[in-house]
Symmetry: C2
Subunit: 133 residues, 2 copies
DNA sequence: CAGAATCCCGTTGGATACTG
DNA sequence: CAGTATCCAACGGGATTCTG
């Protein structure tokens, strides 16, 4: 896709209304979050997961942030939370249709990151050299 | 795209190496940021922009965060920063090829947010009702 | 105009301990 | 196991001031 056609495409989107634009912007702000994106990717790859599984798969996340992020995702309709009344407790999280849609949409960013990892590292090295030199 | 085919697609990506996976994850973390995404969208729609233009277009951003985000984007090779030696100073920012690629990749998320805005708001309302009831 | 520098406060988020 | 509750440090980020 060329720069021009991409621009045209973006401009063609129906957010001429500033009010609407604000709402969409807010959604992006809410959803363009590191943990949310990682959890969505894990749930897409692994299918439904238990709380602990997610914690282990999502490297570096604290249990507090895991709970918090999952709650927000549930609130926004991205995942379902199913409690199985057994001992010990078993709670299963799964992507909703909405969540799956976001996963598909974000898939492009993930692919982009992989494909351009080296370019980014190179750019960082050059930037650093420019600063020092 | 079905859930299964999306899963297959993600699993087919060459990040079996955990080290590589960490790097990509870090890039996602760096780039999945509200201001970065908004600035990329603005630069895509408007083409090259001056510092002040970006500040005005990116509603709610402080000058500090604008500078900071633009620096990080420049460091990662997403934008170029061109200084025109005139008085008053004129500095122009533009997307690089790399930045344009990210813009394209993220375009899907933007479209998703617009298309599903109502569903998200509905999900929030239902979640709220469930909590209260 | 395009920042750099400083101050300062609120929120984020980690660590830890506790519970059904 | 799947959380909740509490405390606290670190960082994000706004407001303001100053400069080339």
């Amino acid at each position: 896709m060329s720069a021009d056609s991409l621009r045209e495409h973006l401009q063609s989107l129906p957010e001429t209304d500033p009010e609407l634009d604000r709402l969409v912007t807010q959604i992006i702000g809410r959803v363009a979050d590191k943990w949310t994106m990682l959890l969505i990717e894990i749930l897409t790859e692994q299918g439904e997961c238990r709380f602990g599984e997610l914690g282990r798969a999502c490297e570096g996340i604290s249990q507090k942030m895991l709970t918090q992020t999952l709650r927000a995702m549930e609130r926004d309709g991205l995942v379902t939370r199913t409690v199985h009344p057994v001992v010990p407790p078993k709670v299963v999280y799964a992507l909703t249709e909405l969540g799956l849609g976001l996963s598909e949409a974000f898939c492009g960013v993930w692919t982009w990151a992989e494909r351009n990892r080296e370019k980014i590292e190179q750019a960082r090295a050059e930037f650093l050299a420019r600063q020092e030199g």
